[in-house]
């Protein structure tokens, strides 16, 4: 067993910190996250409030913890949705390679890819109203073609291999082959892609919340915390720095983890070593 790459460790550690913060927030936060204490607003970080307080006197550490929950929940569900839709489509396209179904699925993918993701997300939330659920749907829709492509690409190369041919000769139908032989062999690709999409999902949630289209108040959200901090940056810089750092570190952690996982799992990278 080769040693796992350092980037994987760093990435996993960073991601774990935020995942842990999110989990702990279900049971305990230093202060009530919706507890406004107007009298103690805009306090700089101190022993009582490790990350300071915001313009309503809410504890920023508590908000970051619950905000992590929001970010992770939105990203997990959105990526799950993208996988649930994209992977079967990709398998179907690969099984039908060169056929009409393949063509329709892949051109549909191109169509979705052609729209800037954030613009469509704004459109969806503008039509159906801003909420965390609609943000999830918007991000999920944009994950679908990514997974469809990765799945199809991975599956296509497998379909040419002898053991798949053998399975075909043995009388297995394309559906069974896809599920029993193709899917397990591209799982590593999907895990790597999933990690990367997960970090993009967190960024997308922050971006949507920043423009007011993500989770609605009073649900804390990192993106909205940044937006609210904007005009206070000169009087209370910690209000912007802390959620900003939370977003950067989480996304960095997930990307490092994704890179590390790729090094470990992706057969192409593994062979190249």
């Amino acid at each position: 067993m080769k040693r796992l790459p350092l980037t994987l460790w760093i990435g996993a550690a960073l991601s774990a910190v935020f995942a842990l913060a999110a989990l702990v927030s279900f049971l305990w936060t230093p202060y009530a996250v919706d507890g406004m204490m107007i009298a103690s607003r805009l306090q700089a970080p101190s022993a009582a409030h490790w990350f300071g307080t915001d313009h309503f006197g809410r504890d920023i550490l508590s908000m970051i913890m619950v905000g992590a929950r929001t970010s992770i929940a939105v990203a997990v569900i959105a990526v799950g949705m993208g996988m649930a839709l994209g992977v079967p489509l990709g398998l179907l396209a690969a099984a039908n390679r060169g056929g009409l179904v393949d063509e329709i699925i892949m051109r549909g993918n191109d169509l979705i890819f052609a729209f800037p993701a954030l613009v469509i997300a704004i459109l969806i939330t503008a039509v159906f109203g801003p909420s965390a659920v609609n943000a999830i749907i918007a991000i999920g829709i944009f994950n679908t073609p990514v997974f469809a492509r990765v799945t199809r690409g991975g599956a296509l190369s497998l379909w040419t291999l002898d053991y798949i041919r053998a399975a075909e000769v043995a009388g297995k139908g394309p559906a069974r082959i896809s599920v029993e032989h193709i899917l397990p062999n591209i799982a590593n690709l999907l895990i790597v892609q999933g990690t990367i999409q997960f970090s993009l999902g967190i960024l997308a949630e922050a971006a949507l919340s920043y423009v007011g289209l993500g989770a609605q108040p009073p649900t804390p959200s990192w993106g909205r915390m940044l937006a609210e901090a904007q005009t206070m940056i000169s009087i209370a810089p910690h209000m912007a720095i802390i959620p900003g750092l939370a977003i950067v570190l989480t996304v960095l952690g997930l990307n490092l983890m994704g890179d590390g996982l790729r090094d470990v799992l992706d057969p192409r990278v593994r062979r190249a070593r």
Partner: protein, 494 residues
């Protein structure tokens, strides 16, 4: 080497002289910042305050006009006679008033304007201003007689509103994009989404303003507004959108912070068509749940005056009724239990201004404390006007009513509160035909008390006018008795 330096310095000398010369000429242009862009530029057809903030007293003028203190002064009419029965007003118009298109302003234009405003297909946003007018007649070129169908103590006040400015029949149809008035400035250009420009009217009848060019620029984003102010791109921002930054401007000698009052009654509006909100106990509970001072501190950084009814505190007829609904979560919970509305859930629609968005979050937290859940939706102005204001599709919303003396809105059952109370409507109807000052005061007191005691809406605070301007500018209005940015007296002092 030395020679080269000398030559270089010599070459630079004229340039340096240019830089070093003190600016002998005063600046005669100004860039004024506004948060909202007007949807059109015709103040006689549109409710948006931004229209009047650009055009009032600058482009358009009425028979009478408001001074900075809210007093009613002569405008295009230099004098008027009121008949003994109070029903006939004879306005004597100024001589030599010329519209920006060159046509003279005469009695015929006044007749046209007032007839148009109260006509069948009038699009005027304040029809009640003209409701008492029976007939309008031109006695001669410069005399207009207005006959009322009932006594109306506030008629001269009404004629000073931005909605009652005098138009010319030739240009009235195009005022939305090319406003033609009689004011000291004439419209030159509107770059949509960015700015409205105007220049000094050389044919103005009155004293010429000190400024030659006025540019209104629209910057919605508070941080962009802050940056534009700091960079000097904007010289004055009469309603600065980020109260949290005022302390910083105050500490900077380049700027003057002007905090005044407005007519903006900031309220938590309630929809009486909602079954729970139709119950006076629920409304009272909400009123007790609200902590006004926390809202003022948290949303407005301390700028604002608590109010207990829909009336401006600087008005001599104001009654301080804030004691009627002190912050009392315990009492609120009791009332909710009594009404059988524990676990109540309400929608709260919040338009863009900071007082609404921030105030809304605080109100939501305060309501949560007494057991009312709220679902916050942030809406843009267009959506707010369409859905909440016109459609009445909301439970709670926060907005500042900036019209002066608008307590009469509670007598309109189709107004977005959907508050239908015959007693109150009777009070306002009586007020409308009363001109005796003492009786008017008594009626106004009764009206204020009535809506406060029925907890019609949640009365929060009076919106302050928090302006920031270059310290070398003088003549800006400190208070906002009406939505206006009157530039006639503004000048640079350096």
């Amino acid at each position: 080497m030395k020679r080269i330096l000398t030559i270089a310095l010599a070459a630079l000398a004229p340039l340096m002289a240019l830089v070093a010369t003190p600016a002998t000429a005063q600046r005669t242009d100004i860039n004024v910042g506004m948060v909202l862009e007007p949807p059109n530029l015709d103040p006689t057809s549109g409710a948006a305050a931004a229209i009047r903030e650009v055009t009032y007293a600058n482009i358009f003028e009425g028979l009478t006009r408001f001074g900075p203190d809210g007093s009613v002064n002569p405008g295009l009419a230099h004098a008027w006679d009121i008949s003994d029965d109070g029903l006939t007003y004879t306005f004597h118009l100024r001589e030599g008033v010329i519209f920006h298109d060159g046509s003279p302003m005469t009695a015929a234009d006044v007749v046209f304007t007032l007839d148009r405003a109260r006509g069948e297909d009038s699009t005027n946003a304040q029809p009640q201003l003209f409701a008492a007018i029976e007939t309008v007649e031109a006695l001669d070129e410069l005399t207009v007689q207005v006959t009322l169908n009932r006594q109306q103590g506030s008629f001269l006040f009404n004629m000073a509103w931005g909605d009652a400015v005098i138009l010319s029949p030739e240009s009235a149809a195009d005022n939305a994009t090319n406003p033609v008035g009689t004011g000291p400035f004439r419209f030159t250009r509107w770059v949509q989404g960015d700015r409205v420009e105007m220049e000094r009217n050389p044919d103005y009848w009155g004293e010429a303003p000190a400024l030659e060019r006025v540019t209104f620029r629209f910057i919605q984003d508070p941080s962009a507004a802050f940056a534009a102010m700091m960079a000097g791109d904007i010289d004055a921002f009469p309603n600065f959108p980020a109260p949290e930054t005022l302390a910083q401007f105050e500490a900077d000698p380049r700027f003057a912070v002007i905090v005044g009052s407005t007519e903006g009654n900031t309220i938590l509006s309630m929809n009486h068509e909602n079954e729970a909100l139709a119950d006076v106990r629920v409304r009272q509970a909400i009123a007790h749940a609200i902590n006004r001072q926390d809202i003022i501190d948290g949303a407005m950084f301390g700028y604002g005056t608590p109010i207990g009814t829909h009336f401006a505190p600087h008005n001599p007829d104001y009654l301080d009724l804030t004691d009627l609904t002190p912050h009392d979560p315990e009492r609120a919970r009791e009332l909710l239990a009594e009404a059988g509305h524990e676990g109540l859930s309400l929608r709260l629609a919040l338009p863009p201004p900071g007082y609404a968005r921030r105030g809304g979050e605080i109100v939501a937290a305060q309501l949560r404390e007494v057991g009312i859940r709220t679902e916050i939706t942030n809406v843009e102005w267009a959506q707010w006007l369409e859905q909440v204001f016109r459609g009445g599709d909301y439970d709670l919303t926060i907005v500042s009513h900036t019209e002066p003396m608008d307590i009469g809105i509670y007598a309109r059952p189709d107004y977005y509160f959907r508050y239908d109370d015959a007693d109150f409507q009777g009070l306002i109807a009586e007020l409308d035909v009363t001109s005796d000052p003492a009786e008017r005061t008594a009626l106004l007191h009764a009206a204020q008390r009535h809506i406060a005691e029925n907890f019609v809406v949640g009365f929060m605070f009076q919106l302050p006018k928090t302006g920031v301007a270059n310290a070398e500018i003088e003549g800006l209005w400190e208070n906002a008795p009406v939505p206006a940015n009157d530039m006639t007296a503004v000048r640079w002092t350096n």
